[in-house]
Symmetry: C2
Subunit: 442 residues, 2 copies
């Protein structure tokens, strides 16, 4: 993409309304625009990151056997009356009346609707296990939306729902999502730690929040340093092997890990002092087994091998892609701007032409742009007439993993400069060498 044809409205000033660094940087980098309280448009740069985040989530959901559907954003109130949550949900639920004066609502979550789909079609244990997910906009009318997309009213959510015949099946489904989440966050360059979370009236231990450590995190968390060196399951993980998956979950739930809310001082004391890691964290995912909570009031039954009807045993599994984009920035930035992990960077490479109009600079840039693009790299080519200082500042602010800097002096010597955004390392290299360094044949 040529920057001269792109829409990247960089802000030079720090927006006053932004209280946290991700919000500030997303506004400054032209990733989002606020459209109302807790409501944002994703501008082209932000949309690209959001897409990459969703794509990784999707691939890992599919790998774990979940199937993608897409439910509408507006739901009938009657469905929520069936589960008893219509009154319980309170003011966070955005309630609507249509022109026929029917009660509707903007879905804050989808347990009811997906249970309705399930009960309409699935009658036998033979069609289980089933896990349906979608990535769709949700609305929660928070009293105090803030921190940009981190706590917005309209937000994107991946929510998966598993259905099984009994607790054993539901636990296996839960474990698959657990392992899928480990892979998902790791692929985004995040170190996420599963922490035991409240199960409320459901009881048991099948509720985990996935927390990433970030100095600017919203809550205090406590965990064993052992988490920092645990192996994350690879792409060859066999999700149809319950024992293998269960083993990974055991390994990942054995060391101590708790949010402030669930913190247990007595257990904490038992962790060796040098292994105690007390840090700030951001919740990026939550998985939860709820058993018959929805299947019972909504009468979602399947015939078992015993010939009898059983209420399906369910769980729900959420990740907020829009909030994740902010969380990644909270975990990865410096005083100059964002530092994107490669897998979610909006572009792989920023190509900076220091002297647009100079025949040689233009020629080398055009050649590099064509070669990198045809090798499948996403390149943002700064071909604007801004001055070099401004271009460098923009490149650092938007934080692409690599910058390739092409100036008249270097070009005369057949060289360009390559900068790694994360390490700050710069190298001047012959052009052919630079191409190799960027992963393409010279």
């Amino acid at each position: 993409m040529r920057l001269s044809r792109y829409f990247l409205p960089i802000l030079k000033e720090n927006p006053r309304e932004a209280e946290i660094v991700s919000h500030r940087l997303m506004l400054r980098a032209g990733m989002i625009r606020q459209q109302g309280q807790g409501s944002f448009s994703w501008l082209p740069l932000g949309k690209r990151v959001l897409d990459k985040v969703c794509q990784i989530i999707r691939e890992e959901q599919n790998r774990a056997g979940a199937l993608e559907i897409l439910m509408p954003t507006i739901q009938s109130a009657d469905l929520w009356r069936e589960s008893g949550r219509y009154n319980d949900y309170g003011k966070e639920m955005l309630r609507i009346k249509d022109r026929q004066d029917r009660d509707m609502l903007y879905g804050p979550t989808n347990e009811e609707m997906v249970t309705e789909i399930f009960r309409a079609y699935v009658k036998s244990y033979k069609d289980l296990p089933l896990n349906l997910y979608h990535i769709q906009w949700k609305f929660r009318d928070e009293v105090r939306p803030r921190f940009g997309v981190m706590r917005s009213r309209e937000f994107l959510m991946k929510d998966a729902y598993s259905f099984d015949l009994d607790f054993e099946g539901a636990k296996a489904a839960y474990n698959r999502m657990f392992v899928s989440y480990l892979r998902t966050f790791t692929r985004m360059g995040l170190q996420a730690i599963p922490m035991r979370a409240d199960t409320g009236p459901i009881g048991g231990d099948l509720s985990h929040e996935f927390i990433i450590l970030a100095e600017t995190g919203e809550s205090q968390v406590f965990c064993d340093r052992a988490y920092l060196s645990l192996d994350v399951p690879g792409a060859n993980t066999n999700f149809s092997d319950d024992a293998e998956i269960g083993g990974i979950v055991t390994k990942w739930t054995t060391p101590y890990a708790a949010t402030d809310e669930m913190h247990d001082e007595a257990a904490w004391e038992k962790v060796a002092e040098g292994d105690r890691l007390s840090a700030r964290g951001i919740e990026v995912g939550h998985i939860f087994h709820f058993g018959e909570k929805y299947s019972k009031p909504m009468n979602a039954k399947v015939a078992g091998p015993d010939g009898k009807d059983h209420y399906a045993s369910g769980g729900s599994y959420g990740i907020g892609p829009s909030r994740l984009v902010a969380a990644i920035i909270e975990a990865s930035h410096d005083e100059n701007g964002i530092i994107w992990p490669e897998a979610v960077a909006p572009f792989d490479i920023g190509l900076i032409n220091m002297k647009v109009g100079d025949g040689e600079c233009d020629r080398v840039c055009d050649d590099l742009y064509a070669a990198l693009t045809s090798a499948g790299k996403d390149v943002l080519y700064d071909d604007t007439d801004q001055r070099p200082g401004g271009k460098f500042a923009t490149a650092d602010l938007i934080g692409l993993p690599w910058q390739v800097i092409v100036g008249p002096r270097g070009v005369a010597a057949g060289e360009v400069e390559i900068k790694n955004r994360k390490s700050g390392e710069r190298e001047t290299l012959p052009i052919a060498e630079a191409k190799k360094r960027l992963g393409i044949a010279a």
Copy 2:
């Protein structure tokens, strides 16, 4: 995907509520489920088609220079008060109050919001042309939603908005979208004809509906047969060459073409009788130049090269991906079910194991499944224990372009059967030959 692990709730009976063939077939093929009046969930098979349709739209929008953003579904009423449309829009607009009693609405379209984004950042003609699009859910509270996803209340829409300094620029932007739409529909296997549409108080001739011909179409249309043989611009079309693009538009607007609404008997009489094509049509896209309709009341100005401020000249360009899925089915089906054009088929190939459990059938199927999948083909492998008759009926109903049928007798002879869904042609081929026929090395 193995069918035994998929969620494909086929209906054997024709659903009574479905008045048109696409609605009936989408329900029967397990593509959608109705969740309320004019509100549908997209089940896995439907979601795959919707994704493919969106991907083609996206690629062609990008090719034409439009940039993707994503705006929220809920908008502030104040924005619509600025343009004067809040009162004008009537009851189709779903109006909402949040917990602070603020007036909001579920966006039926986005001219106001995108103009707000534009005016916030763009100040100079140097940043033009600009065309921003998004693919997002919309809501229109129709009195009588019907025909499944063809006329639903909550629907997906691709809406693009162009901004230019003057009419000449806006016309060039309009032409780029015109040509982009020709390519978009053709890639989906559709023959779409641009027909002059009403411009209302704006005037001029920059408004076209793109209509596909289908016996079951919603409205009567009239056009010159010449359209059926006009060349559709190729992938190498140069969208930055206004003259080239303008030439294509001229060619595609010269023969007679009109919807019932815009039909002109006098002009129609001038078309040679043998060239008159009077048929049923379905609207799948609409492009519209509206000039200063929004920029003026919303004060969206840019400085021109003359140093003066000018109201941006705008246009909007819509395609309904959810409705398109139904329109494709209306245009392409037979008495047995859907016939997907290859580019939007949910899977490329249906692989039918006629005798699951038979060692040789299983082995040949597993081998074909692995080979096709690793060659990048999307395969739906029917490994269920249903009887062959049911499997054939399902395969025809869901309409994948190719069926590969593996039975014990054929396998004993080292052969499989290949069926083309569209032509109905069947061929028995040696396995290696079959692989070649399906586009993979033997």
